[in-house]
Every structure is written in C-alpha cells, then in structure tokens.
C-alpha cells in the first residue's frame, strides 16, 4: 500500500492561503447539511468546539466521551492560559509574530501554512469565548488582561485565574449543550472507541465499548473526527488524566492512518516531583508561575541546608544565568533539560534530589503577598494540599514531567488523515507544534481546529466525495466488532500473575529512562528490546479479573496498556531514526558544545510518518519534507 502524504497546502502568499482555500472549498447547501451525520470522538476543546460548530451549521453530530459528562475532558486541567495575537498590550505582537514564535518554538519541525492559519484564527477564538461568557481576567477599566508565557517576549496570554482550560472547556461544553437542546447533537457518554470502520476506503463508522454494560456498539456516519488527545500516559506517570489514552488513535493507525513524529513528546519543567512508587499521576504547576517565580538550585552539590538558609551568592539561578534574555521564561524543552543537568550535577534538592526550587520570595517582597495571591492563589493552595508545604513561606519544589505529545496522527492542511473521511483535531494530530509546543498554545490549537478549521474543510470533503449509503449491518462493522471481541477474550483468558498497572509502570520506566528528556542510540535500542520483551510477557502473564459484560475497570485499562506498549515501541523507533536533536527530542550524540540541541536541517527537515504493516512486521518510515518559504531556518537561541 502506498500512502499519500500530499499536505494539500494552498498556493500563494502565506497570509492569503487560508482565505484562498476557504474560497476554493466546496460548500454544502444549508438544506443538505441535515442529511449528513458526523461522528466526533472526544469532547475536549477540539471535540467540544467541533461538535458545537458543526451542529450549529446543521449537521447531525454524534458525540462520544469516555467520562460521565463531556465537561470532564482533560482540556479542563490546563491552567495558565491561551495565546492570541490581539496585541492589546501594544507590545509589538502580530499574527506574524505569533506565527514566527510558534514555528521557532517548535524548532522548525512544523508546517508553515498550518501554523500561520493557527495564528490568524487565534483572535477569533478569544472573541468567540468571550461572547460565550468565559470570564477571562480583566483590568479595572473592564478590558481584558494579558500575561506572559515561555518562549515569547510579548504578553499575549489570556487567562481565567489558574483555570483557563476549565473555563474554555465549559464554554465549548455550553455550546454543545445548546445544540443538544436543539436535537442536533446526541451525546454518548462512558463510551470508549475500540475501532475505526472503513468502507470502500473511507472512514464510515466506529465501534465503541459501553463502559457500564461492557457491550460493544456500532455507529455509522459520513465522516469521523478523532479528537481524543495525546498519548503522554505511555509514560505511566504524566500530567494527563487517568483515562487519557492512545487507543482510539492507535487503532486508527492500524486501520491505515499514518502516525507522524511519535517521538516528539513534551516534558514540562514545572511539575510537582515524584514522591513514591504508589504514585498514580503527576500534577503540573502552571508555567505562568515562572512570570514571578525564580528557578534555582544550590551552587554546592548535596547541599542539605533549608532553602532559606542558603544565601543568594550560594544560589545558582541557572535559567537567568544561561538564558539572560528569556531568563525564567525560557521555553519548556530548554528549561526541562537544564533542570535535568542540575540533577545530573548532584545539585538537585528535596528528599529524592529530583527537584529544583521555584522561589517567590523576591516577587512577594516586591509586589506584596496579596498581589501574588491574586495571581496564583489557587495554584499555591493546590501545591500545599498535595505536598504539605506553603509556597508563600518556602520555595516550591518542581521537576520536569511528561505533559504533552506533539506527535500524533498525520493530517493534511484540511486536518484529514491518510484515511479519507477520518479527520484528526487537537493534540491527537501532529500538525502545529513541531518538536516542541509553546505554553498556552494547546488550548489555542484545539479551539482553532474545532471552531474555525474543520467547519470549513469538512464541508469540502462532504461536498466533493461520493458517499454510498452504509448501515451498521455492513460486514466491515461485523468484522471490526469481531476483532475487538477476540482481543477482549484474549485479555481475559491470559489469567496470569501480574496486574495491568504492573505492566504499565514497567513500560513507563523504560520510556522515562530511555525515551525521555535525553536519548541516545544505545538506550533506544535497549528500550526497543525491553518493550518487545514486555509485550511478550504481557500477553503471557497479565491478570485481568472479571468478565466482559459489566463495568470492568481492569479490562478497560488492560486494552489501553496493550496499545501503549505497541506505541511505546514506535516512539523509540522514531527517536532512534531521527538522528538529530530538535525541540523535545534531544539526542545526546547531537548537541552543541554548550549542551544545546543541534538540528540537522539538511537531513531531517521533515515529518517522519509511519505506516502500519502488521503486528509482527516493521512499520515503514515515510517523509513529508517541510518546505520553509517564509521563515529562515535559524539556530534557536534564547540567550
């Protein structure tokens, strides 16, 4: 099988491409929209906004979520904010600058046209969310307030206390609820997508598991939108929610959707450190804290003094030292790596030494406790609840943790995957963040895809594609359902000794040690061998109690972990083949003398796009060459 990796980027000047594309797209007549049904899997910012917008246009939307309500998708946990190029603070921002910062922040591994479009629609997102009643922070004059985020020198981040993701998601959810009341969206909650159904080479439906009854259900449609988020939970410990998983995307991969840049994962620099092996997840402390917090470690190795007892001259404010122009607001990949270097040098702090300080002493002295509480009060409370320490009195301890995945299913400019009719939105696709995502850009991308991109590009697909009538009695549905049943009985039939979490933790450890913040050839080869062994052991020794026909949480976890193990191997393989360092992908063999990432634009200015070829055969690595017509490739410097 050959796959078509034509990005379908419109011709013309960067700033005209999107308008031109919209004009050239075919439209569906308003009266005909009601004849089409669209499946939207996931109800985060991408899925929620897509479902609401498509329903407003008149399409019939079937919306699926894994939680008990669409309002709980993990977009809700984003704290800091959302970027837009409004230039309200008059500090020199523009669409072009947001575009440029995003391309540069992604270390020149994203498609120019997609990123420019993202910057263009960013302003509409803020307008839209305000009109839906999202209570963004405001100044006394009633105007919207902005703050700064890493990787940028302008203040372009809009926020709603430390709960921006929650407020935006509730905005999208309320839009959905409005369309539910009008009968245009049907919500299927507590459903997990188990397979994609293709008929005549086009995505025409899905198989889902009803998590409460355990039954498999079939749904048919004219197009499928996958908005299922990222795969950070491959690492077991991450800032993702407990049910965030890769299975929907992975099963689409097995049905022909190519997977791009799986090794591009983001390790966020400011998370609460790991404290024990029983730990189930990691908690992020918003990057916005770096606006006022200063990151430091003691200059001396193994310094056991309390932080307050260490005088200023014996502290190493290493981000300010190494990156004087960006300081504590250096981008995420760079900041994470610097924290790891301090740990490697024996300068880490806290009981496990895997931590650095984030100190608000100077900000409190300068601005007063009340001002700082106004900005970060709820984050400080959360920190204290989890750790038992009060950050007004003693510095926070933070350490990097897996947070976001830039890789994902490959999509063209229309957000369509290599399977016609299967569109992929938000974190689940690979398109906009290259090798590293800037803070406050995930919310922007999810909403851009759902509100402003897909309503335009989907109409073009529906208007220009012959769509035969299909029903859920079609053989393709029966076969897909049968395959899921088979896998379920296999999982229940192993009756081994190790728990599902045992395997997941073992996978996480392999990934963190070899496919984490710093990677090398030997380690990656080791990881691949270890993961293959783990996969064998899993199918011989996993213990999944209970049966299929009920609310069996261990079974749900088991099928997700089976997919994580396979995806983990692909991530390691992708990291091995990308013989350069860029963004979050740091290969120790490829670094500058001062320890920064060294790109190889001659050989690796492409997206690596993987094609599935079977359970026991190697996937094929294709390339989508990235053409940079409007920005000059430069070494990324934050010094």
């Amino acid at each position: 099988m050959t796959i078509n990796l034509d990005p379908k980027t419109p011709q013309g000047d960067l700033k005209d491409k999107w308008d031109k594309h919209k004009f050239e797209s075919k439209l569906v007549n308003p009266a005909n929209k009601r004849k089409f049904t669209v499946i939207v899997v996931g109800t985060g910012l991408a899925g929620g906004s897509a479902a609401a917008s498509l329903a407003e246009l008149g399409y019939n939307v079937l919306s699926f979520c894994i939680q008990d309500s669409p309002r709980r998708a993990h977009s809700i946990a984003a704290q800091g904010g959302i970027n837009a190029a409004k230039n309200y603070p008059n500090d020199g921002d523009s669409v072009k600058r947001l575009f440029y910062d995003t391309i540069k922040g992604g270390d020149y591994r994203a498609r120019e046209a997609n990123v420019y479009r993202l910057a263009q629609v960013s302003n509409n997102i803020i307008d839209q969310m305000v009109s839906q009643g999202v209570p963004f922070a405001r100044e006394y004059g009633g105007y919207l307030d902005n703050r700064s985020f890493g990787g940028s020198q302008v203040s372009r981040t809009f926020y709603a206390r430390g709960q921006t993701g929650q407020q935006l998601l509730l905005g999208a959810y309320s839009g959905m609820m409005k369309m539910v009341s009008k009968g245009k969206i049907k919500i299927y909650n507590r459903r997990e997508m188990m397979d994609l159904v293709n008929i005549n080479g086009k995505a025409r439906g899905i198989i889902v598991r009803n998590l409460i009854t355990g039954e498999l259900e079939r749904y048919a449609a004219d197009a499928v939108l996958l908005c299922t988020g990222g795969y950070g939970n491959v690492f077991y410990l991450s800032t993702n929610a407990m049910t965030s998983n890769a299975s929907a995307a992975w099963r689409c991969y097995k049905r022909g959707a190519a997977f791009a840049n799986p090794c591009f994962t983001q390790i966020h620099p400011t998370c609460i450190p790991v404290h024990g092996d029983y730990q189930s997840k990691l908690t992020l402390m918003s990057e916005s804290l770096r606006n006022d917090g200063r990151v430091w470690v003691p200059k001396k190795q193994n310094d056991t003094r309390k932080p307050a007892e260490i005088p200023d001259e014996e502290r190493d404010y290493y981000l300010e030292r190494v990156y004087p122009s960006f300081g504590n607001l250096a981008p995420r990949d760079v900041s994470s790596r610097q924290a790891k270097y301090r740990y490697d040098e024996g300068k880490g702090v806290g009981p496990t030494k895997q931590a650095v300080y984030l100190d608000f002493r100077d900000a409190i002295k300068r601005e007063g406790k009340d001002t700082i509480a106004g900005r970060y009060g709820n984050l400080f409370e959360m920190y204290e609840r989890i750790t038992g320490y009060n950050p007004y009195e003693t510095p926070m301890m933070i350490y990097p943790a897996v947070h976001y995945t830039m890789g994902g299913l490959w999509v063209d400019y229309n957000l369509q995957s290599t399977v016609p009719g299967l569109h992929v939105l938000g974190e689940a696709n690979f398109s906009d963040h290259g090798a590293n995502r800037l803070g406050a850009s995930a919310l922007m991308q999810g909403l851009a895809d759902g509100y402003f991109v897909i309503p335009n590009t989907l109409s073009n697909y529906l208007a220009s594609t012959p769509l035969e009538k299909v029903t859920i009695e079609d053989n393709a549905f029966k076969d897909a359902e049968q395959a899921v049943k088979l896998q379920t009985s296999k999982l229940l039939g192993v009756k081994g000794k190790r728990t599902v979490d045992d395997f997941h933790k073992a996978l996480g450890l392999i990934m963190w040690n070899h496919v984490g913040m710093s990677r090398n050839e030997t380690g990656l080869k080791q990881a691949i061998a270890d993961i293959r062994k783990l996969r064998e052991d899993f199918w011989k020794d996993v213990n999944v109690p209970g049966e299929e026909g009920n609310f069996n949480l261990e079974l749900h976890k088991a099928s997700r972990v089976a997919d994580f193990i396979e995806l983990g191997e692909l991530m390691a393989l992708d990291a091995l083949e990308r013989k350069e360092s860029c963004g979050g992908h740091f290969r120790e063999e490829y670094q500058t003398p001062d320890g920064e990432a060294q790109r190889d634009d001659e050989n690796f200015a492409h997206a690596a796009v993987w094609e599935y070829t079977g359970t026991n055969s190697s996937p094929i690595r294709h390339k989508e060459e990235l053409k940079f017509e409007f920005v000059k490739l430069a070494t990324r410097s934050y010094k």
Partner: protein
C-alpha cells in the same frame, strides 16, 4: 513530612449494580504513606484485590488534580470528606493517622442513582445545563473581545460562580438533595455578564423547571452545599438565581408564533 506509614481500616460500600443490594465491606490497607492521595490509597487496595482475583472497587476519577469534577465518594459521612475546598482526589493521607477507620460510600442523593460500588450517575447535572446553561452565541458571530467592557469586580464575581466543577457534592451534602448551588452558580455567572443578559429570564425559568422535574429537592438554606463545595462557591449565587427567577416569573413574556425573542 512524617514518613510514618499507617495501617487503616476501611468500610467500603459495595454494590454490584443499580438494582442490586449493597452493603459495607471491611478492608484493611497497610503501609499507607502520608504523602499518598486518598485515591492512591484505594488504588493500592484495588491492586490487592486484583492479586486475589476479586472484583475491584469501582469509583469515578480522572484528572486527579481537583478540576474535572469526576471524583465523588462520601468519606466519613461527608461529600469529598468535608475538607475545605478539597475534592476527594486532593485529600491526602497525612490528614489521617495510624489505626483510623474510614467509612467510604458513594455520593448519596435521589438524583444520582448508583451505577456500581462508589460510582453514581450524575447525568441529571447535564440535563439541567441542557435546559439553558449557555449563551446562544454561534461560532462566527462574536464582536471583538474588548468591544464589551466588563468591570473587574463583575468579571471576578462571574469567575467565582464559573469555578463550579459540576461534581455534585452540593447535591450529595444537601439534606434535600437540591441542585440549587450548581444551577445557581451557572445562572448567576451568565446573568452577571452583559453577554448573558439577553437570555437571562428564559434561562432561569427553564433551568429551574427542569431541575424541579428531576429528583432534586428544593433549597431551604441549610448551606451545607457551600460548606462542602470544593470550589468554595457561595450560596449568594442561589440568592441571585432566586432574584433572576422571580424577576423572570413576573415579567418574562414570549409571544407565540412570533419567532421567539424576549
């Protein structure tokens, strides 16, 4: 931090399904670190049950950072354990001591039928939201975000109300099983903001009507909801909801067959 690990006695509500009879079952968990979260402690217990080949305890949870509203549980008789501004997932074991007995039940409310063990069905919350918990602003209609000025105190108060995570602890802690706090918070948020005023009367009437048609009780100002709410939402929002409702009940008029509108 103390590194003294604890042993705890748990009494947990087990119920196979919505119609099955349930009962409290005794469990013992050893080696509980004070740094563990409450749900991690349950994870440890569930791992023990898997190893013994027993059915694990079903409970709802997702983000485990206090924002998704998925976790529930009544701990020692109180929704989310009754700790100030804290969801179940953010309760940490350092709040307990060695030898404690903890009683864990599902959220208890007529409107939230039990699905299994500690999992309940909170679909009624969505039903109330569908009745009007939104501003009808279709994508593409919006004017510039700064075209409408909203004074900071109003925006802040709207944000206080908007912080609701829809967990349902207010319902579970109310002697009447009322949903007035989560509903009041939404009505209040949208009535405070200029964007939400156009639909405010209709919203208040519709939401209250649907709320009352489900298995929620009325508010009799016990304020248990405010004390339990993990986001500290004040019953002032119930007062504002009542004002909105009264105003609308007396003045709202929609001409039939005239294309709607206020």
């Amino acid at each position: 931090m103390s590194s003294q690990n604890m042993s705890l006695n748990l009494k947990i509500w087990r119920q196979k399904g919505p119609k099955a009879e349930g009962k409290l079952v005794d469990y013992r968990v050893d080696n509980v670190s004070p740094d563990m979260s409450f749900l991690e402690m349950i994870d440890v217990l569930n791992e023990q049950l898997v190893r013994k080949g027993e059915d694990t305890i079903a409970f709802d949870h997702d983000c485990r950072e206090g924002i998704c509203g998925m976790c529930s549980m009544t701990i020692d008789g109180k929704a989310h354990g009754g700790f100030k501004n804290t969801t179940t997932c953010q309760v940490h074991m350092r709040l307990y001591k060695n030898g404690d007995t903890i009683v864990i039940e599902p959220f208890r409310a007529m409107a939230f039928p039990i699905v299994k063990d500690l999992t309940v069905d909170r679909g009624a919350i969505d039903k109330v939201m569908i009745a009007g918990g939104y501003i009808s602003a279709n994508t593409g209609n919006a004017p510039d975000a700064n075209a409408m000025l909203i004074p900071k105190p109003i925006a802040d108060e709207a944000m206080d109300a908007a912080a609701c995570i829809g967990c349902g602890a207010c319902v579970a802690s109310c002697p009447n099983g009322s949903g007035m706090l989560f509903m009041g918070a939404k009505i209040s948020q949208l009535a405070l903001l200029p964007q939400g005023k156009a639909e405010a009367p209709k919203r208040a009437l519709n939401m209250v009507q649907v709320h009352d048609s489900l298995n929620f009780g009325n508010c009799t100002t016990h304020a248990e909801c405010e004390a339990t709410c993990p986001k500290g939402i004040s019953i002032e929002h119930i007062a504002r909801m009542n004002r909105e409702y009264m105003k609308a009940a007396f003045t709202y008029y929609e001409k039939k067959n005239a294309g709607g509108g206020v």
